[in-house]
Symmetry: C2
Subunit: 260 residues, 2 copies
């Protein structure tokens, strides 16, 4: 119902986009004509343009006024297609999550869950600014629901109880989404605020020897394979849940407070 790819029914005989029917040698004299012949203002075009704007210039650059300007339209025109800015962002997030590949892949359930989660991770990585906003307040739209459905389906299919599947899904989801707003950690006082008040001076190195030891390993912060490390750790733990008791590797079998 929502899938219906738009080329099926509408577009009877649009008279505006004539492919230069006025003659073979005709060339526009006015160089701004291409810009003036703007495509019609539609909801998908608004959302796509907004996503591109945020990708390129960051979330603060997303202003109804700026977006309207980019679409060469009055700011108020947007409100004919979108209820408010909040809804616009919801739509952008859904567009982003539409990039997640949910198609089945060969392999056991762990492999399939890993591929799905990686694709999810990749979609967020492609839109870091929006991903940060997304993770700061998750809303579940249609595409998000479908991703959930597939992940949970895999967990239930593997034999996890509903309660265990809920825990596992939540842990995976939390980790994946959480990964993205931690992408750009920086010490306060590094930026132009360096000359500022002393409250946020970096602590002297003697106070943080362990941090200093790790500094070279955390420099890039977003290292290759860093996401996969935690992901595989979680997946291994979930798999262990299935064969053993509740927590993955307890020293003794204290099967308490799990309720699976």
């Amino acid at each position: 119902m929502t899938e219906q790819p738009s080329a099926s029914r509408a577009r009877p005989d649009r008279p505006d986009r004539p492919d230069r029917p006025d003659g073979p040698g005709w060339v526009s004299v006015d160089p701004s004509e291409d810009e003036q012949r703007r495509p019609p203002l539609t909801r998908p075009r608004i959302v796509r343009t907004a996503l591109r704007l945020v990708d390129e210039k960051g979330l603060p650059a997303l202003t109804m006024r700026a977006l309207a300007q980019q679409l060469k339209v009055s700011p108020m025109a947007l409100y004919n297609h979108v209820h408010d800015k909040e809804e616009l962002i919801d739509l952008m997030i859904d567009l982003m999550l539409g990039e997640v590949d949910r198609s089945p892949v060969p392999g056991d359930w762990v492999t399939q869950l890993r591929v799905l989660t990686c694709s999810y991770h990749q979609a967020l990585s492609a839109h870091p600014a929006l991903a940060r906003r997304y993770s700061s307040q998750v809303r579940i739209g249609p595409h998000g629901l479908l991703i959930m459905e597939r992940a949970i389906g895999l967990l239930l299919g593997a034999g996890l109880s509903p309660a265990a599947a809920a825990d596992a899904f939540f842990a995976l989801f939390t980790y994946t989404v959480g990964f993205h707003q931690l992408g750009q950690i920086r010490r306060v006082s590094d930026p132009k605020r360096q000359d500022e008040t002393g409250y946020y001076v970096a602590l002297p190195a003697e106070q943080i020897p362990a941090v200093m030891t790790l500094a070279p390993h955390m420099s890039g912060v977003r290292q290759d394979g860093q996401f996969e490390y935690g992901l595989d750790t979680l997946l291994a733990g979930i798999k262990a849940t299935l064969t053993q008791g509740s927590p993955p590797r307890p020293s003794t079998d204290k099967t308490e407070a799990h309720g699976g």
Copy 2:
């Protein structure tokens, strides 16, 4: 240097707070006098008030104007103590992270790391609105650095290589912080927008059977013990890295870079 608990040097003979020395039976006639005798405007008071405001009314309620009003002061007075709103939020976050208990506890390194992470989790839980903002853009201030220091120190002390410790720390950190902005997931279309446009209607239940199966287990979203489930999974995985993983157990005396 930053610790110095404020009662040491200042306050020579403050004439304003006389504990009613004008006579035993004297009572203020003006009931607004208590409100008028406002304490001095200081940086800590501003930050504390801002944190309370956000705790009670949410982040959008934090307005320089609203904060000033709560402090019974002109909005511009704040700028004498705080560079801008961004810095104010940094200070609030540092105040929140100051609530984390970093004191050593009995037990092995896993236990200690677990206690530390739980305290971290608890501090964020106490200030959900600010925690969400924090996780959407992490900045590392003094208290954050000290927490890092302790966590990383435990990992290194356990024998993890710097690279492995970095991965482990990042996974733990990611999971913990990520947990908090996922606290209030809700399906779009549930709130007052229910009567709105059809884009965000919930998908029909037939399309999401697995989600529906889990629905009763995800209702509260923030279940008790849910955080601990993922945490223990991660800790078990990290511990496994130590016994099985690449660095083959440095039982020899490598007293490097640990420093008490």
